[in-house]
Subunit: 202 residues, 2 copies
């Protein structure tokens, strides 16, 4: 008999909350809100507990041979501002995997293509409320190959920013979209372009 | 006459989208969904365009004198998983600023206090849909001073993780919450503990 190592990953914790009932309270092409009655692990009943269901999203970290990041500036009605962001979009049901969606969204929003799209991470937009995942896809060697093809409601211009300049201005709010900041930093770390080695406190 | 420098910040772009009408389609204590009819800068009318209004949120990056990060593990019904996250919560109307909310949420969720709470950044949870902001607050020298005070629906345990270990495992999905990953990395950069200097491609 050998001692088995513990299973990888974090402890699972107590069982999931029990869903006592579930109803859709708002649904159309753009939004899907579910209200559940749930019982937590202490026995408390929470009703309604709202969840938001969307398709999965992709964030594309596309870097040109000249070490520029391909960004889009667009009007965002949620934040009520023109913001600089990563190219991003929804994964369609027909997409074999998030890299297919990434290639499409990058091409349509910016006209750029790349020889390879690498899926790096999948995070939650908001663990408390969102049922979907946001995937980070890295595209090195991105070049301009197509005209853009913007959908109605996409008020977009393309901007190329030197990667070093993006990193220098990130702390000053260059990319206001929190999820995109996470995707960018994790992708550059995975690509060996920045490192997260802890330094002594200054 | 002198040449005035351009104003700081990104160019403003064309005017904001025109709101033709606005109606609340779902509202209670927990959720507030607005459906606007809007005209974009190209003249397209989008109706409905949904926005989500919440109070502002705070994410607390609390580091102990032993260089451990104060984290919470809790069941999250959106992601339907037990996840490791930063202490976080909502800013109340009575809070003078986000640091007040940060101190309260850290104390209630974890029992930790700190001599100073420093507001570093304010990002958008999702520029497309969310009207609120998520503030990143840094708390150095955090120590255990109080019992925890969890609200109904908070299934929380406190975990201390060496900062270096967190950073080493971030790319493997240690913190599944995308916004928290952004807050953590920006905060450690602002504190001089990691740097975003661009390295040559490997």
């Amino acid at each position: 008999m050998s001692d088995s190592p513990p299973p990888p990953g974090p402890p699972l914790g107590p069982p999931l909350w029990e869903v006592l009932s579930s109803r859709t309270v708002l649904q159309d092409r753009w939004i899907h809100v579910t209200a559940d009655a749930v019982r937590d692990s202490k026995g408390n009943v929470l009703d309604p507990f709202y969840s938001l269901s969307y398709p999965d999203w992709v964030h594309v970290v596309a870097v040109t041979p000249a070490d520029e990041l391909v960004l889009v500036r667009q009007y965002r009605h949620g934040a009520q501002a023109w913001t600089l962001e990563l190219p991003a979009g929804a994964v369609d049901k027909a997409d074999a995997d998030p890299t297919v969606a990434a290639a499409r969204e990058l091409r349509e929003e910016t006209g750029y293509s790349a020889p390879e799209f690498r899926l790096l991470h999948s995070l939650s937009p908001n663990t408390a409320t969102h049922r979907n995942r946001a995937h980070t896809v890295l595209a090195l060697g991105a070049t301009l190959t197509h005209p853009t093809a913007h959908e109605v409601g996409e008020d977009i211009t393309v901007e190329l920013w030197p990667l070093a300049r993006v990193l220098a201005q990130l702390g000053a709010g260059l990319l206001p979209q929190a999820m995109h900041t996470a995707s960018l930093l994790l992708a550059l770390n995975a690509a060996g372009r920045i490192d997260f080695t802890l330094k002594d406190a200054p």
